[in-house]
Each structure stands twice: as structure tokens, then as C-alpha cells.
């Protein structure tokens, strides 16, 4: 059953990722990107990452895709997503070679997997790991400062002189 769900989700994900590149109209490409984000959230649910699935919907579907759509509406361009002529074949070669290398590496690696059953709900353990003792508290603080500086930098860059 879960295999069927995974196969369905991955087919939709790969198809919408290809559609983002192939579709000429940039607004429709943004909508395909939203479909991709939602299927990725479904894949997180398959992996028992419930908190990450919610965050994926909130941050990617809710915020990042809206930013991208606003950007497409405020800019206009005559040539919509034309591939660069000769470099297209080089790009195909580079991507295919990288994919072959990664898949070869995955298949030939033996991962050490413990027998522990995965956690059924992850919100409390994630909170303990992020904010508890001997956790990632300093990293959380640094991430907050980085977000603030990124927002201030974006405002400073975009402001009219």
C-alpha cells in the first residue's frame, strides 16, 4: 500500500519538476512548483516526519511560492524561459552524468541501519533536540539572526534611492 502511495507521489513530483522547466508560461511554472512542494510534503509524511510536512506546507507552499508568484507578476520579459542554444546539450550531459554517478553510489553503498522503530510523532523530540540541553540552541539563535539580517538586507537592497 505504502509503495503505491510512494510511486504515485514520486511520479507526480518528477512530472511537476519537469513541467517547471518545460512550461513556457512562468506563472504556470510557478503553479507546477506548488504541486511539487505539496507532493514533497506527502513524501515527508510517508517518512514519519509530521512536523516537517507541516513546515513544508507553511514555508514553501505558503511563503516561498507566494514570493515567487509576486516576483513573476512584477516583472515581465519577452523571452520566457528559452533554453540557451548550444549549452543545452552540455547541460543534459552534466546532469545525466551526475545522476548516473549518484545512483551508482547509492546502489553500491551499504548503509548501517539500526533496528530501532522510527518515532511515531516527532514534534516533541524535535523541540527537545532544538531547544533542550545539549541541543542545537546556539544554531537556532544563529539561524534567527541570519533570517533577520536577510530580511534587513532585502529591504536595504530593494529600497528606492
Amino acid at each position: 500500500m505504502l509503495e503505491i502511495v510512494f510511486a504515485l507521489l514520486s511520479v507526480i513530483a518528477v512530472a511537476s519538476a519537469i513541467a517547471v522547466i518545460v512550461v513556457r508560461d512562468i506563472f504556470r511554472a510557478a503553479l507546477c512548483l506548488i504541486i511539487l512542494f505539496m507532493t514533497v510534503a506527502g513524501i515527508y509524511l510517508l517518512l514519519h516526519a509530521d512536523f516537517l510536512a507541516i513546515v513544508q506546507i507553511l514555508v514553501y507552499v505558503g511563503a516561498i511560492s507566494i514570493l515567487i508568484i509576486v516576483a513573476t507578476m512584477l516583472t515581465r520579459d519577452a523571452r520566457q524561459g528559452q533554453p540557451l542554444g548550444n549549452l543545452k546539450y552540455a547541460a543534459v550531459a552534466v546532469s545525466a552524468l551526475l545522476l548516473a554517478a549518484i545512483v551508482f553510489g547509492i546502489i553500491n553503498t551499504v548503509f548501517v541501519m539500526p533496528d530501532n522503530a522510527p518515532l511515531q510523532e516527532t514534534i516533541k523530540p524535535l523541540g527537545m533536540a532544538l531547544f533542550g540541553d545539549s541541543g542545537y540552541l546556539l544554531t537556532v539563535e544563529i539561524a534567527a539572526v541570519m533570517l533577520l539580517s536577510a530580511i534587513l538586507g532585502a529591504i536595504a537592497v530593494i529600497r528606492e534611492k
Binding site: A49, Y60, R79, G81, A96, M146
Partner: protein
């Protein structure tokens, strides 16, 4: 060798990453390049969470990493779109070939 659980997620992640890489290398529109960057970041997150599920099921290290990747992705999109707007005001275009202000 091939274990169906972890490997299927890793291969899906690799396929999505390479699609995103192809898009970044070939697209002309800068906004589309940002979209393809987001595809690549999502692919990496899938593999991080798959590792978290199968390799560190109790410590959840991969999920914590994925949270920080999302934070960096949000900051990256905000700054990137601000830069795109600024160059668009100057050049009236979002074609990557017109983004050559830093060229000497």
C-alpha cells in the same frame, strides 16, 4: 545492496536534484532559475529526512538539518528576489544575459 526503503527515497531525491540542476544550467529567466534552485533544495531535504528515518531514527539529526536548510532557503529566496527587482528596475529585464552589471 539495494534496500527498497532507503534507496527509493535517495534515488527520487537524486532524480529531482538533477532535474533542478538541468533547469539552473539552461533557463534564461532568473525567476525560473530560482524555482529550479528550490527544486534542488527540496531534493536535498528529501534525502536528509530519509536518512533521518532509516539511519538515525531516534536522534532525528537529519530532520533538524532539514529545518535549517528550510531557514536558509527562505532567506535565500528573499534576498534573491530583492536583487532581481533591483536589477529589473535598472535593466527592464529578467533575462540572465542582462545580469552583467558586475562584469568589468
Amino acid at each position: 545492496m539495494f534496500s527498497a526503503g532507503l534507496d527509493q527515497y535517495l534515488i527520487l531525491s537524486a532524480v529531482l536534484f538533477c532535474i533542478g540542476l538541468f533547469g539552473v544550467l539552461t533557463q534564461r529567466n532568473v525567476i525560473k532559475i530560482i524555482m529550479c534552485l528550490e527544486i534542488m533544495l527540496n531534493a536535498v531535504n528529501i534525502s536528509l529526512i530519509a536518512f533521518s528515518q532509516y539511519v538515525t531514527p531516534v536522534a532525528l539529526t537529519g530532520q533538524i538539518f532539514a529545518i535549517f536548510v528550510m531557514v536558509v532557503a527562505a532567506a535565500e529566496v528573499a534576498v534573491g528576489i530583492a536583487i532581481i527587482f533591483t536589477v529589473y528596475r535598472d535593466r527592464e529585464s529578467v533575462d540572465i544575459e542582462n545580469f552583467n552589471i558586475l562584469k568589468w
